[in-house]
């Protein structure tokens, strides 16, 4: 279990992370969402003892990371898949880590097989690896010590669609067996597909956290009618906020039931009425990060999402 309490990290006059509080219970996958530069990596580095908090605390199982005698046996960490010596082979990278962790050498082969780097890939130098292969090697390193907690920074970067699907299954299985997963991403769809809980950060501040269902419910309902103006009047009459959504639909700020009732009272036939799951999260993400301050300068563009999702 991970607990981050009132975590603040200041660089000179700039607040990279400001009073961030959230927790990741065992048995769940927590998605740590935010645009680039929002403070995700700084938070994760502080959690793993690589940066000191200015104030507040980050603990794993009630203890600070630096207090764990052999942290790799407890917490699997992947903060940057690119941070590997280009002149070392993948197998050697894992062998070095296995020695520090004190796990048997056989574990290296098992992990290489698990992430699909067994055979020729293990003997190749990391400099020849694609980013996707480095992510797999990073995951193998994180899993080598058989930890109960995984902390992963943008683990889906560089993975192909099959690799992303595989990683989701791996993380889901890890959490279902009682493990705790905290993974960051600026890609909404990646996180939405695997996370039980979300923590959204923007401009160094936590703007939302909770279970995915709670946050999605708060995101409202997608509703569509042939007569859009009539629907807008019906919603306004019922006192329900709304915004324009994709394809002429409306995103109403309430549960589907009151939205449906409002339309029925006004006699407006509906073509669509559903919780704003996928689109809702995206709207939520956009609106929250926009409200969060300067960090909204780097929103996730649809093209970038499609290229990576």
């Amino acid at each position: 279990m991970i607990e981050i309490e009132h975590l603040t990290r200041r660089y000179g006059t700039q607040l990279a992370v400001s009073d961030v509080t959230f927790s990741c219970p065992a048995g769940t996958v927590t998605g740590f969402l935010g645009p680039n530069g929002a403070g995700k990596s700084t938070t994760l580095r502080t959690l793993c003892g690589l940066a000191a908090p200015t104030s507040g605390s980050a603990t794993i199982g009630g203890r600070q990371y630096r207090e764990l005698p052999n942290p790799g046996r407890h917490v699997g960490v992947l903060l940057d898949a690119g941070a590997q010596h280009a002149g070392r082979t993948g197998g050697e990278v894992l062998t070095l880590t296995a020695k520090v962790l004190g796990v048997p050498r056989t574990r290296v082969g098992e992990m290489l097989q698990l992430v699909g780097l067994d055979g020729g890939a293990a003997g190749k130098r990391v400099g020849k690896y694609s980013l996707g292969m480095r992510q797999r090697l990073g995951l193998a390193t994180a899993l080598l010590g058989d930890p109960e907690v995984l902390v992963l920074d943008e683990p889906a970067n560089g993975l192909d669609p099959e690799g992303i699907y595989w990683m989701r299954g791996l993380l889901r299985g890890f959490a279902d067996r009682g493990g705790t997963v905290l993974l960051s991403s600026h890609l909404l769809r990646e996180v939405e597909a695997v996370a039980d809980r979300l923590a959204v950060i923007a401009g160094g501040r936590l703007v939302a956290s909770g279970s995915k269902e709670e946050l999605l419910a708060a995101a409202g309902t997608v509703v569509r009618a042939r007569e859009r103006v009539a629907l807008e009047q019906a919603l306004a009459a019922a006192g329900i906020r709304y915004d324009a959504a994709e394809d002429g639909a409306l995103l109403a700020g309430d549960e589907p039931e009151p939205v449906g009732i409002a339309a029925a009272r006004a006699g407006v036939p509906l073509l669509e009425l559903r919780p704003a799951s996928g689109a809702g999260l995206e709207e939520l993400f956009r609106s929250l990060t926009h409200a969060g301050g300067p960090a909204d300068a780097a929103p996730t563009t649809p093209t970038a999402q499609e290229a990576r999702a």
Binding site: Q84, V100, V115
Partner: protein, 260 residues
């Protein structure tokens, strides 16, 4: 590809920390398991063999002794082994492996102590290699030339050579810690002491600086085992400037810096 791992469990919470011996072993392995490290070690070994061989073929008969061969071979170790010491530290930053290293061992001083011990062991290995190279050359001298050889060597020469080579490598590590950048540390390691030597040996008024703070001057006699008396104090004062100062400053820097 499968999607199963062993079930998560909590018994590993207090898995023992890696021993210092383990960390030293890992650092020694890191020094040779990369392409750059491997070739650097091989080059040092080849030079340690080549320099005595040059003396064997082109030197004058009085130089063709075991002790002289060993002395000549020190050049290779003194020149290149400190670079290995520098890379032991700076490659963690230039290749960004520090992220993994310090995530696995958050007590940064333990990693740094392991690096210093590993570097010192490499220096000992380097001197052993020069002894082997010297012995090999001495054994071949009567075979390949008409000149006689001598197997006598002063224990003091071996001991002081060992000490000065360990000192050289540790200075490399200290420069690496201070600068955390391979090119910067290597250039500074070679340029700064050399410029200092040139300055204090040409400016007459700086004679006392040369005698007390210039490493080239103070450690020079050690390669022949001739250091004694006040010489030891002068080695200590110059080592304080070139080893202790950058080591302490670098140590503090590494502890304060955020690993990214």
């Amino acid at each position: 590809m499968t999607t199963t791992t062993e079930p998560a469990r909590s018994s590993a919470l207090d898995a023992p920390a890696p021993s210092l011996a383990t960390l030293v072993g890992v650092e020694l392995r890191k020094s040779r398991d990369t392409r750059a490290g491997f070739w650097l070690l091989l080059t040092i070994g080849a030079l340690a063999l080549a320099v005595p061989a040059l003396v064997l073929f082109f030197g004058e008969p009085p130089e063709k002794t075991f002790a002289e061969y060993v002395g000549a071979a020190q050049l290779a170790v003194a020149l290149l082994l400190p670079v290995l010491g520098i890379l032991l530290v700076t490659s963690e930053w230039s290749q960004r492996t520090a992220l993994t290293t310090f995530a696995l061992v958050p007590q940064r001083s333990r990693v740094l102590v392991a690096k210093l011990v590993a570097a010192a062991l490499l220096a000992v290995l380097g001197v052993v290699a020069t002894l082997v190279a010297g012995a090999l050359t001495a054994a071949l001298t009567p075979v390949l030339t008409d000149d006689p050889t001598s197997w006598s060597i002063d224990a003091e020469q071996v001991l002081q050579t060992l000490l000065v080579q360990v000192l050289n490598v540790l200075i490399g590590v200290a420069f690496g810690l201070l600068l955390l950048s391979s090119p910067l540390a290597i250039v500074t390691y070679f340029a700064l002491p050399t410029a200092f030597t040139v300055l204090v040996t040409t400016v007459g008024a700086l004679d006392w600086v040369r005698d007390w703070l210039d490493l080239t001057t103070t450690t020079g006699p050690m390669y022949e085992g001739r250091l004694d008396g006040q010489g030891w104090v002068q080695v200590a004062t110059s080592a304080a400037l070139w080893l202790l100062l950058p080591l302490v400053a670098g140590w503090i820097r590494v502890h304060r810096t955020e690993i990214t």
